[in-house]
């Protein structure tokens, strides 16, 4: 990430004049000043912070008087503050997306600079930051998230090249329909020529008509030959059409299959961080919708586009050769017709898009309300929801109605305009016919070629939009394919058999680098220890276990298992030896047996039952009508929260993990069930390293050690008793919970006393 920009000349001059003899450490942009957008610069030297705008020094802040620096995310902008002599002062404002990470680095850098300045120490060298720049160096516009691709600067040719690379192995199949379409094109032009001969030489040639015609007559023979030729050419054309359709069906499906597989594989390898930034609907849309658009274009629109363009040019040439004067009647109205058709589709497209958006909103609304129908009912809001739905669906219906009315009125008119050229030809052609300068056959041939030009006119105006839609979809597909996984295996990852020693060294981490969730965490865990993680919600407990599983990579420090940095262990080996039970359990569609076996597909039924027994799930499972074969998931048997939790625990236990992670695993259970599971887990955790998060502190009474997190820092660490004696943060939590339960007791007792 760039922390030392080059100052523009005017600003540089101002800086040189003001800061002679100072060493420039950082130079970053700021984007807002008062009520407007600006291109200003914040320059940090070894003595001052300068804000420079339009060749003037706005402010010069003496670093030695500053103590605390901070950034704050505002709405539509961010602020950089310094505490000067204890007074918080606004230094500058900037755009979050562009510069927040930069200023977050400055916060720490400036604090240490100021400290050094006060202690009269050497300021040292500026810190650097290897975070990837997220803006295009050429145009300054943002890259696609997770890539170094700037859609604005991207050459369309390069996209086609990528697509070309993707079609490897399918090219012959994809392009065969193209060759075939040229073939049909040739026939399209031969046919009118033959028809012309049939009309001119036979149909309208009265001199060859005789009463006593026999098969031996050469004229009849020739005519029959032409007749057969016309029929067989037509048949042949249709046969080729069938072949072409079949081929494009095969190649289209192959292409879709390949793209979908590629995308799905890629999505599976992406890190949680980048996947959680995208919505499920968006990803699904890319796998199904966008791939469909790309495929449709490649196998449907592209070949027809080629043949249309070729026939257009060919027809023009033929017309000119046949009759240059009459061709004028074709060409003159052409630009007007093209313009009208294009305008019409432009208007229709906008209106249709509007209609689509309204319809989409109706769908969203329906989905939202139907999912929450229980809430609607419990609040008795049925009437209001009916009204809201009516309003939306009415708007959508009105728009669609008006679109349809416009289309149905204008389209016939437009078709008339398109055909107007033919009328002109007919008129002029007949004139020539009457004057004997043209015969029927020539007129027929000419008219056929003219139709080749006007025929696809309506569809041809679609092409720019189809190309743009295709490029958008292709861009979306490539976006995923080009994304580099943030958490990736090193070149030669190690497959180790985990023993269970875990050490966390100086770990600092934030989902966004400028907002650390965990700071400087240190922890040594011996094999087989049970560690309880305690703290307020949002203090970083779940984040810590996410890091242990390496769902995210740490920003600073390292996490080692058995003295091996987890970055060196293959992700497969790592996660297959860690068992996880989360508070939110997701069971896949399938039987309970399948779900338990998810972590170990080859497990025997004995193992399944044993795991279920350990998780105290066996009894309720056996009591289900179909036992372990009961279908669960979205459309299956609905298990209660506690039952799902126990199935999830069984799933985590079946592959006998060396490290067990329980993130509020028993929070959804009643006290009695929790106790049973706790006992089971205690037995289990004997020989394995366990990390358990719980809000109910009683859950953690068997933990060997407890660590207490507060606002991302580890504030306390020790056994339950040690921490109680400390009378610190943990003690407060324990007391608050006891008090809470004590209060309940009294409340229950109160009515009894009356």
């Amino acid at each position: 990430m760039k922390l030392m920009y080059d100052l523009p000349q005017a600003d540089k001059a101002a800086y040189d004049a003001a800061a002679a003899g100072e060493k420039m450490m950082y130079c970053v942009p700021f984007n807002m000043y008062e009520d407007r957008f600006v291109a200003g610069w914040t320059v940090v030297t070894d003595k001052h912070i300068y804000c420079i705008l339009d060749g003037k020094i706005l402010t010069a802040t003496d670093l030695s008087r500053c103590t605390v620096f901070s950034t704050e995310v505002l709405y539509g902008n961010c602020a950089f503050y310094a505490s000067i002599d204890g007074i918080t002062t606004l230094i500058c404002r900037f755009l979050s997306g562009r510069n927040l990470s930069r200023y977050s680095v400055l916060v720490n850098a400036c604090e240490s600079l100021a400290e050094k300045l006060r202690n009269k120490e050497d300021p040292g060298e500026p810190v650097t930051n290897d975070e990837r720049e997220r803006f295009c160096p050429k145009c300054g516009r943002p890259f696609v998230a997770g890539t170094t691709v700037c859609p604005f600067c991207r050459d369309t040719k390069e996209v086609y090249k990528k697509l070309w690379a993707l079609t490897k192995g399918l090219r012959l199949m994809l392009f065969f329909p193209l060759f075939v379409s040229f073939f049909t094109l040739a026939i399209q032009f031969i046919l009118p020529a033959i028809q012309k001969v049939a009309v001119n030489d036979y149909l309208t040639n009265k001199s060859i008509y005789r009463e006593d015609i026999s098969l031996a007559d050469p004229n009849l023979q020739a005519f029959l030959l032409i007749f057969v030729a016309i029929i067989s050419i037509d048949l042949f054309q249709r046969a080729i059409g069938v072949l072409q359709s079949r081929l494009s069906a095969i190649s289209g499906n192959k292409f879709t299959l390949m793209m979908r597989t590629l995308l799905y594989e890629k999505i599976q390898t992406l890190s949680i961080a980048s996947i959680s930034k995208k919505s499920t609907g968006d990803l699904m849309g890319r796998i199904t919708g966008d791939v469909g658009v790309v495929q449709g274009f490649m196998t449907g629109q592209l070949p027809s586009l080629f043949s249309m363009a070729a026939s257009f040019v060919l027809a023009l040439v033929f017309l000119l050769i046949l009759d240059p004067v009459m061709s004028l009647f074709v060409f003159v109205p052409l630009p007007l017709v093209v313009y009208l058709v294009y305008r019409f589709w432009d208007i229709m497209q906008r209106r249709n898009r509007k209609g689509w958006v309204l319809g989409y909103h109706v769908n969203l609304f329906l989905q939202d309300i139907l999912n929450g129908i229980r809430v609607v009912k419990t609040f008795g809001n049925e009437e209001r929801e009916i009204e809201k739905f009516n309003a939306r669906t009415n708007r959508s219906a009105r728009q669609n109605e008006s679109n349809a009315k416009l289309y149905d009125t204008v389209f016939p008119l437009l078709s008339f305009v398109v055909r107007f050229g033919s009328y002109l030809i007919l008129f002029y052609g007949n004139y020539k016919l009457f004057t004997g300068t043209m015969n029927y056959g020539d007129l027929h041939q000419f008219n056929s070629y003219a139709n080749i030009i006007y025929g696809p006119l309506i569809t041809i105006t679609f092409i720019p939009r189809q190309v743009s839609a295709f490029l958008t979809s292709l861009g979306k597909v490539l976006e995923i394919l080009e994304e580099e996984p943030e958490v990736a295996d090193i070149g030669l990852p190690i497959d180790i058999a985990i023993e269970g020693d875990v050490s966390v060294k100086n770990v600092t981490f934030g989902y966004d680098s400028y907002n650390p969730v965990l700071q400087n965490i240190n922890l040594e865990v011996k094999k087989g220890e049970m560690i309880g993680i305690v703290g307020h919600s949002g203090c970083g407990k779940t984040t810590l276990i996410n890091l242990l599983m390496r769902l995210y990579d740490v920003n600073e420090g390292e996490i080692c298992i058995d003295d091996v940095n987890i970055k060196d262990i293959s992700q497969n080996a790592l996660r297959s030896q860690i068992g996880v039970v989360l508070q939110e359990t997701h069971l896949f569609s399938g039987s309970i047996r399948d779900n338990i076996k998810y972590a170990k597909p080859l497990a025997s039924d004995e193992e399944v039952v044993a795991a279920a027994k350990m998780a105290n799930a066996h009894d309720f499972i056996v009591n289900l009508p179909e036992g372990y074969n009961t279908m669960v998931g979205e459309k299956g048997y609905s298990l209660s929260g506690g039952e799902r939790q126990r199935v999830a625990i069984a799933r985590a236990l079946i592959h006998n993990p060396r490290i067990l992670i329980l993130d509020e695993a028993t929070a959804a259970l009643d006290t009695e069930t929790e106790k049973l599971i706790q006992d089971a887990l205690n037995k289990l955790s004997k020989n394995r390293t366990t990390f358990a998060i719980a809000h109910r502190l009683s859950t953690l009474r068997n933990a060997d050690r407890l660590i207490v997190l507060d606002k991302g820092h580890m504030v306390e660490c020790g056994t339950h008793q040690e921490l109680l004696d400390l009378k610190g943060f943990y003690w407060k939590l324990v007391m608050a919970q006891r008090q809470g339960s004590g209060f309940k007791k009294k409340k229950e007792a109160a009515p009894a006393a009356k």
Partner: protein, 230 residues
């Protein structure tokens, strides 16, 4: 003053409750004779020493009026506050931040006046709430409005001067009340929001927020650009 009275009455209420609880406990003592009950009661007494409210202290937010709150511009270009708190004591804050509760629907009402968030202490707590900015005098309102204008930086789009779509990204240029800008939308259907009152809010990839007060009032070319998204 009314707030002080409330607090006093609250305190009295809690005292009353405690007395009730104690009385009930005594009744229970009489009923229960076995050792278990005694043990339980001991525990109860143990707990009574600690008030959970005191374990995790939260500041009590009060309504801020010209009678109990005095805002001033701070030396650092931000806002300082002197306030008579719930206990009737004067408190001074070198810096407070002001957040709108309803930035879209009621920008000048329900303003939350808070201690700034810090890295060490985390989220700052609410000092009080300004029900309606109109009750303050002009000068104070001007100071607060200046802070709000910084915090909620939403320039108004006057004219969309260029619009280009490439690979599903919208590259727009516009004249706004804060000058000419070019910006990028990665998902125009999600990033362009029509508010209930007909205004349009646009959030771009850089963290900018733009407002179009009345899309119909835009020139035809600009309107055509946004028309399909709203």
């Amino acid at each position: 003053m009314s707030t002080n009275e409330k607090t006093v009455s609250k305190a009295e209420e809690t005292k009353d409750k405690k007395a009730e609880v104690k009385a009930e406990n005594k009744k229970e003592e009489l009923k229960k004779t076995d050792k278990a009950a005694e043990a339980e009661e001991e525990e109860d007494e143990d707990e009574e020493e600690i008030n959970p409210d005191e374990l995790f202290k939260h500041r009590e937010s009060i309504p801020l009026t010209p009678e109990n709150a005095w805002f001033s511009a701070s030396a650092g270009g931000l806002i300082s506050l002197k306030v008579k708190n719930a206990e009737g004591e004067m408190e001074e804050f070198e810096r407070v931040v002001i957040r709108r509760s309803f930035p879209v629907t009621a920008p000048n009402e329900f303003l939350s006046v808070r201690e700034p968030d810090t890295r060490k202490k985390g989220r700052g707590s609410e000092i009080g709430m300004i029900r309606d900015l109109a009750i303050f005098d002009k000068d104070t309102a001007a100071i607060i409005n200046a802070e709000l204008d910084l915090r909620y930086f939403t320039p108004e789009i006057k004219k969309i001067t260029a619009a280009k779509e490439k690979f599903g990204y919208c590259y727009w240029e516009a004249d706004t009340s804060a000058g000419h800008v070019s910006f990028v939308l990665n998902n125009p259907f999600g990033n362009i929001r029509k508010l209930e009152d007909g205004r349009i809010l646009i959030a771009d990839m850089d963290g900018n927020c733009f407002l179009i007060p009345d899309p119909e009032a835009l020139d035809r070319q600009s309107y055509k650009v946004i028309e399909i998204y709203i």
